[in-house]
Amino acid sequence: MSGARERILGRVRERLGSALEEPAPSREPRQTGSGDVGEFCRRLQAAGASVDRIAEDAVPQAVARYLAERNLAARVKVSPALANLGWAAEPLLETAFGVAELADAAAVMPAALGISETGSLVHASSGDNPTTNHFLPDHAIAVVAEEAVCADLEAAFSAASGPAMPRTVCLITGPSRTGDIEQRIELGAHGPRSLHVLVTARTPDRAPSSAT
């Protein structure tokens, strides 16, 4: 198909007729740095997610509490990236680590970043953070650190793309939804029916003394 490539590009150049002109540089990313955590949480809630702000060492308890409040089985598939959060502290919570399967009703996964402009989580795929875990189970529980919340899309993109883009970078803004039947919004189309976000703050005794 290299013939097609040359013909298409040739037609484009012929029509543009200005291949000599240098492209104007794209607008510089705004990179306004850290975001407003309160705004981030409000926007996530407006998009249909629930939010729990907790200390960074309290994730297992917060997961157990959420499942209990929702009358869900105390069983979660945890992305391996979060294996070291001290899950043993919740002996009644059954945890398994790896890629989610059809039988998994709930999963816990990390978000690399938050975006306060849009109330989005940034999920970046990797060997210990499979994309499947967010989309296949009925209930997604995402963990994001307060200091990972950045201001806007541009700041998030420059942080997430880094030296190389991960295979999948997903901006997640609320649970799955559809309006395909009579334009009525329903949650839980094909992705998670519910999205619960644990926004973690540094535990005081581990934080630098200046952070109060």
Binding site: A4, G127, P130, T132, R167, Q183
Partner: protein, 473 residues
């Protein structure tokens, strides 16, 4: 695949659509649905006009050097292990997809929503070649069951009422499980489709998606969705194929951000869609999920020929659907009457370019030039100007009726003689005003049958605008 023949039958199809009660019931929901949600979203976002300007500037800048951005996209995509295929025509694109599938023994293909697949008639072609195609977007799934085509670019089943969907599910879903499906509310139907399709995502050997845009600097394809079906489609099977047209590329992630700020607000009235997903190459050596192979089919199908023409601005379109949601003609006849893939104002502007003005000449005429489409278009595409361009082309090619040509010639002759024109219209207004009597309306009028057949003609006020203006000052 729909061909030009259906677009040529717009007059008959639109007349039928006006009498279709189910369609009319479904279309009545546009006001409180799409329109109201967009209005709210724009009111919530003070910087919307600036965001529109930024998005327009990003896309305009992109198109000026489209060749370079396509080459950069291809190079970056390759660096990440992806494969880029170039297709000039729908036939080329279909063949490329089929060869990818058959070479790997694919029997079931899951699909996310893509209008380009509709444009190239992919489903019918693959099915004729023994491949089962599973539409996974709820709207696409509904119309696949109904054996229909989308009537809207982001809400493909918008023409269906809930009782019609209930009937389709009753006919097509496993009767032995029927008792477990309530089918009383839209939520019941969403849950039923979810349950039925869950296993199908896992069964598929390959997944095919479109792309809302492609990012040259990273070599990524991007889908903007709400249901999550696109993500399952491109994550679970071992092969991911992206089908995109060449004008979808943008240079940088920042340009993508500019488009994202206006896309969901204009489309569904959300600040952000639930999922905006960037896919870059196949799974990495250390990844534990994701497709083993990633292929992008870049289709031209007439886009390159539009660059540098009076209608090249249609290439800025980001397929949000705002123009059709706000179009009084679309709101009256729905999408199927347009007879081709892209309905509503953007279809009326784009279809003549892709199918030829002869086949699609009725579409740019299906507008009162009220301008609402241009008003809401986030990319500021001058749609009414493009309709006028096509009408001129139609006239120049002598495709319109002899009566229309005679009428235009007479009017043109008169309009070029301002004193005679004013005299003539002044007399006509006085006479018509007197003839109208007390009702101030005409139920029928000589030479105006086209209007009065379906509604009354309001009587003129008795004098022309120019006369009233003179008297006022």
């Amino acid at each position: 695949m729909m061909d030009g023949a259906a677009a040529a039958r717009f007059p008959e199809a639109s007349a039928r659509a006006l009498g279709d009660e189910n369609l009319q019931a479904a279309l009545r929901l546009l006001g409180e649905g799409f329109q109201a949600r967009r209005t709210d979203a724009v009111e919530r976002f003070a910087a919307f006009e600036d965001a529109r300007d930024a998005a327009v500037a990003a896309k305009t800048r992109t198109l000026r050097h489209l060749d370079r951005h396509l080459e950069t996209f291809e190079a970056r995509c390759r660096e990440h292990g992806g494969v880029v295929h170039w297709a000039e025509t729908p036939e080329d694109a279909r063949r490329i997809v089929l060869e990818l599938l058959t070479a790997r023994g694919v029997r079931v293909l899951s699909k996310g929503k893509t209008m380009v697949a509709e444009e190239i008639g992919l489903n019918g072609f693959l099915e004729a070649n023994g491949i089962e195609v599973v539409e996974t977007d709820l709207g696409e799934y509904i119309i696949q069951l109904a054996e229909e085509v989308p009537s809207h670019i982001i809400a493909p089943a918008i023409h269906k009422t809930m009782p019609q969907v209930v009937d389709l599910f009753r006919q097509h879903h496993d009767q032995t499980k029927a008792g477990s499906f309530a089918r009383r509310t839209p939520a019941d139907l969403v849950a039923e489709a979810r349950a039925v399709l869950r296993q199908r995502f896992l069964d598929a050997d390959a997944g095919l998606t479109g792309a809302n845009f492609l990012v040259a600097e990273t070599g990524s394809s991007v889908i903007v969705t709400n249901e999550g079906n696109g993500d399952l489609t491109q994550t679970l099977p071992r092969l991911h194929i992206v089908l995109a047209t060449i004008e979808k590329v943008v240079p940088t992630l920042a340009d993508g951000a500019a488009i994202l700020r206006v896309l969901a607000r204009s489309a569904t009235g959300q600040d952000m869609s639930a999922y905006t997903t960037f896919s870059t190459g196949p799974r990495r050596p250390t990844d534990v999920d994701g497709p083993a192979e990633y292929h992008v089919v870049l289709l031209d199908n007439g886009r390159s020929r539009l660059l540098g023409t009076p209608i090249e601005e249609v290439l800025r379109c980001i397929r949000c659907g705002a123009c059709m949601n706000h179009c009084p003609v679309y709101g009256a006849v729905g999408g199927h009457a347009y007879g081709w893939v892209y309905p509503g104002p953007i279809g009326a502007a784009l279809t003549p370019a892709l199918l030829g003005v002869e086949a699609a000449r009725h579409l740019p005429n299906a507008s009162s030039l009220c301008g609402r489409c241009e008003e809401v278009c986030p990319m500021r595409i001058p749609l009414p100007k493009i309709f006028r361009y096509w009408r001129e082309q139609e006239h120049a090619a002598r495709l319109n009726s002899a009566r229309m040509r005679l009428g235009l010639a007479l009017w043109g002759w008169l309009a070029a003689r301002p004193r005679l024109y004013r005299l003539g219209t002044g007399v006509a207004m006085r006479v018509l005003s007197r003839l109208a009597g007390r009702s101030r309306r005409f139920r029928s009028l000589f030479l105006a049958g086209g209007w009065t057949r379906s509604r009354d003609l309001p009587a003129p006020a008795g004098q022309t605008f120019l006369n009233s203006w003179k008297r006022r000052s």
